[in-house]
Subunit: 698 residues, 2 copies
């Protein structure tokens, strides 16, 4: 966002609502700006005072001697928009609105916020809030918030959608020794959204990791593509609370029932290369690691410990996280044997023993870090009778300083490590109390390495052998008929227009036509009553399989029409559909559920009647879907094992399956009017495939 | 264990190896015993000194003026057993051996430990160690360890199999404010095992929750039954690291491949009512809650918070843990409306707003705790500008003192809550920094309530309509033949002897016999080559299905024998098995994998050829298996949904399935020589069932 830099590093700040009355927000704001060390110009604005806290005050924004880089507003809500308009007219580009009483209170507040949004658009201004607690930049330094505490300076940017949580975290950060570059209270997001702020922070030199507590994500169908650009530069870790409504709304489809309510967020975050955490603990454990460590080359890990137990617990955690315990080569092993007594262990995890002097830690660290197979190192220290916590800390700092690898320290204890923890963190080494936390953060570091290696080619964009006009014509007809559900024959035509192999199905309206079409198709065929109003077609005798001749087809046509009339005298069916009976194959499902926020979400998994019982399904958003993601989606299912050939079986046509996923994605991106789509089953053969039942709802 | 009380609360303690040399373990031990406040008699034992640290010393144990309640030994390992024998002869009943150099060093050490065990048996002594760091009892008080720090006094007993981890935890507990009743370093477990100590601690008045860090579990087929008695009295929380070898060893069977290496421990702990955690964090978070809180009546939870965000995060966590958010009745809602301003929320989670004064917290707490639907309460405090952390802490203590319900406080911050945390914990209220932790511990509290409600009736013990002799005869024959795998006909006979419905299968050795048996059974039948040496019977033409007449059966007999000869000229088959072809039903699997430590582990799940792909299986240990556990095992699978009637289908005979589980459990408990058993599939019909393929390996 243009100008957002001045939001955080302005050369002048005006505070509308600045006050001399102790305890008032307008008093705290000026106080914090002054006391927390802001060095630029400060312009208090107050119509009734000449001077605020010893600083010359102005009656309103337009009277200022210059256009301030930033205006902070804290006056009653009915007056905010007028001031905002003055700001716009005066040329102000960045505003923070502390005042509450907008959208969050409903009624009149909603109107005020709508008006605010239109003023912002008119003057093209940046705005954080309203109902924001303010912003903090520890590097400028500038505290426009009414938080009484300035957090320690650091390189973690923190965006919070909850003001109280932000205050809590600032308070806690003092104890935890976590340093921030910027802390931003989002408020109602009437102006700048978290997405814009994330994009801005991607290029902020003071920030090396961005974390956020969010209760909602601003609507943006290109969320994945926008955020990929951020995660390509910096790790982004989000604690997203609350749930999406997508799953619940579309639960009438197979695919919908398979998608949990929170799935769209999970899917979007993963595809964007963002880490989603579920607890505050994890948010800050991981942020600390990213704020200190270089990004590792891979998932190989070595452990040095003075307690066997700590090593065992770490290895257990490594197995859970899928990290690799490095097996040392002969050279490293030989060197370690010189450094570690026989009673210890030179196999990873290296046990330097409870009596390990500082030098043994130092030597072991150097040997292990020199080994090219080692991507990450965890050093564990238990406060044994002889352990010199401070000396070991110094040794770790010294031995690791020339290596560009993450070194994570577990100082397992309390009082014994107060100094050591401080020293290590000051020297760029994160410390934790328990080994499992250290292993977890290594997993995150390595996952970020994988994010940066991602290939974002988009195979869906390349699909152009589709007949869009044909699909449009079908949809127009369905809409003209006042229906929202396509007949099987229509859905077949749509699938075919998009190059998805499906079993031919044709709507017939007379028995003669049914006979002719059946013969053209080749026997055996299936006949089904065609009506979007009859739901349980089999139950009323509306489906007959295994029809082997023209005569039989004609007779069955009549029988089915009669059955339908008997069961539903009030419904006029569209006719009878004739479908070719296909050889059975491996059954898969490809489906789509449309998320309000992120657009089409594509499902792939095991198909058949037990689909909702077996729940073997994997989801990806269609927007920006990559080849690697389709591979991942495919591999994330058990049915992929069947398709690859389970226990010596022939398997199925994997390329064809992936093609179906792509084409469903293309189709549902091209036609936003498709609200639900289920293809279940698709029979997959050794060569080729055939969709048996295509359901499309507009 | 008789006398274990004197291990921790002795009226006299002798220390063999007591020393005047500063820095020696024998010096630290006397130091710790004296300085940490032990009030009983202390007898230093040292052949060379008259006096140790000012206390009269003795040359050896036998010279003491009385039999000491406890002897602590810290002398070089070659001399330990002699001293131990002296102790035994002198009548000593409790010994702690600090000395290392036994089993853990291999070679000679293993022999020394074996000798130690035989001395213990001879004199019926309790012993902790060797290679123990010692024990601590904060109530006696007595510190026989060489930990330099005494942990805070409390009601948590902590057993650690790692000495260094124990020291680390004691160190950490000082910062964390966690109090212990007893801390026990297990060492090599040559004498008392963790199981015996857990049983002892179940009746220890100073202990209200037992936690343990364990790397191995002592072998005991009755582990589940023993530990159930402990968990009936007190919560037991274990961090068990490392893995069991059971899964890996038996991976040749279906059931074996489905069982992960760590599964036996998980299963045993669950059935014993013990909580297994995977991280140190969780171990102590949960221990803190149990050490402070009463056990709740159920899983209903209310939340009071001064920050909406904290409430949202808590509700997310509640959903993950399956806790219930109480919906307040009209009366409670009306009262809350008087206590909370309109801008807040009187719906659970209750938002008392960022400006909440102490009285608003107090009133809300009282109203909510009075509501009978509320089983648990979480109170969250963010350090907003106006929040009075200490005042709110006092209000929480006062408002909750008359209610026997868990109240958990989240003080979200650092410096602002130092006093409040301390005060609350001193008054029996656990505090945490983050809301998710509070929700997690409520889940544990409520799960313990469920453990105490368990019904341990054992339906397997009641099975007596089985023909044990028949099974013995079959196994004798198999062993006499030098085989370890039963033929299908033998396995069928075993199943039948134990009342498990199976498709009849008979071994025939001539074509005439095959014809006659097939006719007796009724057509259609299946013929299979009978040989434990031919593994892939279908591939060599050794299986033919759908045989419909006596003549056909005779012809096929000859064909199968010929095919087998061609494929395996060196193998003499046992004959050809004739099996009745059964109608197909819902396919389930019942299997058994024998765990070295815990005995037979019974598998139940979806059967058929895809069993190892779908992995729809649930395990229970047969020892002490209860009716409730069988129900749980059944319900934990997806195939149970099919058996209950999926989407209007008829379903299957559930009682028959559960009967099969019980009878397989009975069979594998009765015959420890069965090493593996797989019944897959069992066809389950609306009424009855039929096991198609029974595989038994000795």
């Amino acid at each position: 966002m243009s100008g957002l830099n001045e939001m955080f590093n302005p050369s002048s700040v005006a505070v509308v609502g600045a006050s001399n009355a102790v305890g008032k927000v307008g008093h705290i704001l000026i106080n914090n700006i002054v006391n927390d060390g802001y060095e630029g110009k400060i312009y208090p604005i107050n119509p009734k005072s000449e001077e605020i806290q010893g600083i010359k005050a102005y009656k309103n924004v337009k009277e200022l001697p210059e256009v301030p880089d930033l205006v902070v507003i804290s006056i009653p809500s009915p007056f905010v928009n007028e001031t905002l308009r003055h700001c716009g007219e005066f040329g102000v580009k960045n505003v923070v609105v502390i005042t509450a009483g907008f959208k969050e209170v409903g009624g009149e507040g909603v109107k005020l916020e709508e008006e605010m949004i239109s003023i912002l658009k008119e003057f093209n201004m940046n705005l954080i809030g309203p109902n924001s607690l303010g912003t903090i930049d520890t590097h400028t330094p500038l505290n426009t918030s009414f938080s009484q505490m300035m957090p320690p300076k650091g390189n973690i940017a923190f965006i919070s959608q909850s003001g109280a949580m932000m205050v809590a975290i600032i308070d806690w950060s003092v104890t935890a020794g976590i340093g921030f570059s910027k802390v931003i209270s989002l408020g109602n997001k009437a102006g700048n959204t978290e997405i814009e702020l994330l994009e801005f922070l991607a290029d902020d030199d003071d920030t090396s990791v961005v974390i956020a507590y969010l209760e909602s994500i601003s609507e943006d169908p290109n969320f994945v593509n926008h955020l990929r650009k951020v995660s390509a530069k910096k790790p982004v870790i989000i604690l997203k609370s609350g749930s999406s409504a997508a799953g619940a709304e579309a639960a009438s489809s197979h695919t919908g029932a398979l998608a949990g309510s929170d799935l769209a967020f999970d899917t979007a975050f993963k595809q964007a290369g963002i880490f989603r955490v579920t607890t505050m603990d994890e948010l800050f454990d991981v942020a600390l690691a990213f704020s200190k460590c270089p990004i590792p080359k891979g998932r190989n890990l070595a452990i040095i410990t003075n307690a066997g137990g700590g090593g065992v617990v770490s290895v257990d955690a490594m197995e859970r996280f899928g990290l690799n315990l490095v097996q040392f080569d002969d050279d490293t092993t030989a060197k370690l044997k010189e450094a570690v007594p026989d009673e210890g262990s030179v196999k990873n995890p290296i046990d330097v023993l409870g009596d390990a002097p500082v030098s043994r830690y130092h030597d072991s660290l150097e040997i292990v870090l020199k080994n090219d197979d080692v991507d990450n190192l965890i050093v564990m220290v238990c406060p044994t009778a002889t352990a010199d916590a401070d000396g070991i800390a110094d040794a770790i700092i010294d031995a690791s300083k020339d290596f560009d690898k993450p070194v994570i320290v577990v100082n397992m204890g309390g009082p014994s490590f107060i100094n050591a923890d401080k020293t290590l963190r000051e020297h760029g080494i994160p410390t934790y109390v328990f080994p499992e936390t250290a292993v977890k953060v290594v997993d995150y570091l390595a996952r970020f390495e994988a994010v940066q290696e991602r290939n974002y080619d988009n195979p869906i964009a390349a699909i152009d052998d589709v007949d869009k006009a044909a699909v449009e014509a079908i949809f127009d007809k369905v809409k003209a008929d006042g229906r929202d559900t396509l007949l099987g024959s229509e859905a077949y035509a749509v699938a075919t227009a998009y190059g998805i192999s499906a079993a031919p199905i044709i709507l017939t309206t007379t028995k003669e036509e049914a006979g002719i079409e059946a013969e053209k198709m080749g026997f055996p065929v299936v006949l089904k009553i065609a009506s979007d109003k009859i739901l349980h077609k089999s139950d009323i005798g509306g489906v007959k399989v295994g029809i082997n001749s023209k005569d039989e087809a004609e007779a069955i046509f009549t029988e089915i029409i009669d059955n339908a009339k008997k069961a539903h005298p009030d419904i006029v069916p569209d006719g009878v559909e004739v479908q070719k009976m296909m050889d059975s194959g491996i059954e898969v499902l490809v489906g789509m559920i449309r998320d309000k926020q992120f657009g089409p979400m594509i499902a792939f998994g095991m198909g058949g009647v037990l689909v909702n019982l077996l729940e073997d399904v994997s989801f990806k958003l269609a927007n920006g879907m990559t080849s690697d993601e389709i591979d991942e989606q495919f591999n994330n299912t058990k049915v992929s094992t069947l398709l690859k050939g389970f226990r010596g079986d022939a398997g199925g046509d994997i390329a064809e399956v992936k093609e179906a996923i792509k084409r469903v994605a293309r189709l549902t991106l091209d036609f936003p009017e498709i609200s639900e789509l289920d293809i279940n089953p698709i029979f997959v053969y050794e060569k080729g495939s055939s969709a048996l039942d295509v359901k499309i709802k507009l």
